[in-house]
Subunit: 309 residues, 4 copies
Amino acid sequence: MADTMSEMVDAALAAAKPRCGEGTVADYIPALAKVDPNQIGLAVATTDGVCHTAGDADTPFSIQSVSKVFTLALALERTSDALWSCVGREPSGTAFNSIVQLESENGRPRNPLINAGAIAVTDRLIGDRSTEETIAELVGFLRERAVDDTIEIDEEVAQSEAKAGARNRSLAHFMAAFDNLTQPVETALGAYFRQCALSLSCRQLAQAGLFLACNGRDPKTGAQIISEERCRRINAVMMTCGHYDNSGEFAFRVGLPGKSGVGGGILAIAPGRGAIAAWSPGLNKAGTSLAGSAALEHFAKAAGWSVFD
Amino acid sequence: MADTMSEMVDAALAAAKPRCGEGTVADYIPALAKVDPNQIGLAVATTDGVCHTAGDADTPFSIQSVSKVFTLALALERTSDALWSCVGREPSGTAFNSIVQLESENGRPRNPLINAGAIAVTDRLIGDRSTEETIAELVGFLRERAVDDTIEIDEEVAQSEAKAGARNRSLAHFMAAFDNLTQPVETALGAYFRQCALSLSCRQLAQAGLFLACNGRDPKTGAQIISEERCRRINAVMMTCGHYDNSGEFAFRVGLPGKSGVGGGILAIAPGRGAIAAWSPGLNKAGTSLAGSAALEHFAKAAGWSVFD
Amino acid sequence: MADTMSEMVDAALAAAKPRCGEGTVADYIPALAKVDPNQIGLAVATTDGVCHTAGDADTPFSIQSVSKVFTLALALERTSDALWSCVGREPSGTAFNSIVQLESENGRPRNPLINAGAIAVTDRLIGDRSTEETIAELVGFLRERAVDDTIEIDEEVAQSEAKAGARNRSLAHFMAAFDNLTQPVETALGAYFRQCALSLSCRQLAQAGLFLACNGRDPKTGAQIISEERCRRINAVMMTCGHYDNSGEFAFRVGLPGKSGVGGGILAIAPGRGAIAAWSPGLNKAGTSLAGSAALEHFAKAAGWSVFD
Amino acid sequence: MADTMSEMVDAALAAAKPRCGEGTVADYIPALAKVDPNQIGLAVATTDGVCHTAGDADTPFSIQSVSKVFTLALALERTSDALWSCVGREPSGTAFNSIVQLESENGRPRNPLINAGAIAVTDRLIGDRSTEETIAELVGFLRERAVDDTIEIDEEVAQSEAKAGARNRSLAHFMAAFDNLTQPVETALGAYFRQCALSLSCRQLAQAGLFLACNGRDPKTGAQIISEERCRRINAVMMTCGHYDNSGEFAFRVGLPGKSGVGGGILAIAPGRGAIAAWSPGLNKAGTSLAGSAALEHFAKAAGWSVFD
């Protein structure tokens, strides 16, 4: 007889736990560097509204680039497909913060899930609003999705990001040189750094991302948050571009659309089934959590949730 | 009431037909250049063994790089995961015949579905056999899958490929310089050029690829052709790398693992549902059939077959 | 009988004049865009202290990147060979504002005569001083060399540069990300933009550069401004790197160390013989004055001043 | 009182000798790998026909890429400036065997002194002749220049080069893919590998190259071997491109047009003064002899032969 969902979540965590502490913890800002690497959490939110967790699934962590998915969803709602004139949807084949491709392609980032692309997307999300309103919309969106008003931005992290943000500043000014930002560089970056600093637990993250597994619907109310087609397409972009130059490997091993962040978090979507959030701080060279992706691989295999199954 | 499969195949062809003749027909060899661009075929083989077709679905065409998928499947059976030491599984972000990445990554191609990668894979597929035996295995495999003994290599095309193959020779010698070929360059290329020259109709191609939609099983006999895990993984590689620097766009629009060839053919796999082959000679800049991918997009949407659905 | 120097200067100008108006005038800032393209000036300052001129040789123009040579000379005096830890001395093979090389070489610019390199050099030139002191030293140096107290920075140009400086900001932040700036980015850039905005006539520029043709000595007083070895080496860097991805062509045609600027000015040094300044606003694709380099080619050939003669 | 030429040659050798054995001896072919690294030779041929030598100046070594200069001179004589349509004259900024630039610039090598460029030049040198005639012309030319009929190609080295030539084959096929070879690839490479295998001593090499220091004239007979302008221009190309991604450094330190080979030889030209050949097998990362360039640096400084002096 098949294992229950809870058993599979526990088993995946147990299988991945030995890899806790492997890899490198992001150390470009103090708030990330001081995180204890021997933590691992896993949460699986299913379309029926239940959330199964294991390990440190209620410890908030800095979701970093995982936020790019939510920013993308909101920016597409705001600007519709016009967004795609400022950013592509092809894998870049390069690191998260590479600027090489920007030079050969006239300041248009390859996709919205690398830093340059997410800065451009955040810039469009602002539109004619203040940074505060923009960030308030984003935080509100996550709280509503996760039904949890405690979700917040870690302002200390945001300030550290801004301080350590030379490379992102370089990307932003480069795009500005090609008129591919609509806001002043520091405005776009200010919002970008703050959305990177969102702090969520695995449980919160899995629930916040669940609408992407539900054809764009809120699983509780049935309300259509984003259109079905847009939902499919965001998942497609996550599948091909969600992990920088590790995207192919993630698809190969896990078989699900996903997005990783250098805080060690990963959000993966199993369309029609559920959203999975894994977290463990140790990263591989491409900036993806080692134990986190191991947990996802184990779970996806056991549950038969790979989209290629 | 939902449309029948046949109706959806017809409708997809009709929707894509106006794009017939758009784009550029591959002209680097005479045999491809002379193909009438105003042709389009579509075939959908479902896991129940039925094949639905529309348009020029019984006209054989040069499948070109679509063959890379079959060569990969056979080479993985032959060498198992050792194959991955000679080739990666990440999208390259570059054109089908780019050599730039080979230089920065010491002669190891990014993935098996770009030219350099497929040459390395073909090289391993040969192993200790002759080219003839190797190609015979490949042709035999396709005939068995499609239950059609008329599938053949177009030797005129193979010879033209060899003649026009300077860029592929450059890639092969470059890999040889890094000891990433086990055969003499011309041996590896000889087999490579011949497998590119396979000639199949949409009907044959859809049926030949159907095992990839059936967890690696032959849908008729139930025999396990390749393992379930390997099948999932080949689909993952097709999803992230199947269309060179157009892979993201294909995933975005069609939402299925696929592989395109400059002959205008595309094979797409809907796991658990079926295999789809589309063909129309006019190509976009990345070498993917314009009308062919339009037909696939229409069909996948109508049938709800996107893996992101 | 050989032509006199004056005759050769006139003849070179006459030969180049038909090319006036060819090419493109830099238009990224209004002050450059509005310059009349149908101007050409030529000045040859010989080691005996005489200056021969032709055409618009007394019209001040924005020397732009030609200033990089003077900044380099002063920064080497200030920091000595320690400067070479922050910047290389190899041709880049790329455009003046390329960022690609910075990424593969960890934020260390290839040479001091491309934008990134000159920003790093300017940063070191500042040291523990204010921007005002730094720029005052540079302007004072040029005035002393040219014995002309009217040499000034065009503050309108400097402000326009700062406003239009997104690409240079990107370069600077990129270097900052690799800790290759000692000043805050905007401080380094502030000084960089001001030195780009130096306004000199051909006559002033040739006289200001003459010490580089005199083994580093002031030709009037005999005072050693920079050491002989340093003088040779600055000339060597100008020879291999002075014109971005047009450096080889300039060496091939003119045969002299030189530095061009997008204002249309070029300074060329004939060691032991003299300094030549040419100016005409129309640029080739690499940002070098077309008529200006033609005038230099004619003059160098007639005078037999090529270092390869 | 100034040192005599002989004293300066001896002193330069003595100063460089301690660096003998530093660096890496080329080991891609056995004939080079087995050379004793503790050898160093220096020869200075002056325009008056005298040749001063020190150390192992009469030991023949494989001149390798130094031959590219002679091939270039002969090919320019044969095809005149039409040669420049197949090859540029800009520094590449990359390694001797890089293929990256070829891809972005459509198969046209940056300059004739990198491998790809020299293959293209050799291809044109062949023209409608046989390889034997072509090589005979080259050997004859060197013998005549050096007045030494013992100069030969080391056929064992030539065969080793051909065997180990995968990377060069890759470059050649890449150019062929862009129709930038006129001969079959193996014909062009056959001649290329043979000219690389020329074996000369420092004395022979300095004398063979002396015409480049004499405005293209044979210093003994006064015969114009190549035009004055062409001579200047070849020197210019050597100055900016003669040492791959070490060209700037060589200009900076030595101040002379030069060409290095992985056999450890370097030919440097002091226009109007003489030709210098240095040899020592230990190479830096860019493939330039460490002790050889040190000897050249010492000699050029002592003799005041830098073109920037």
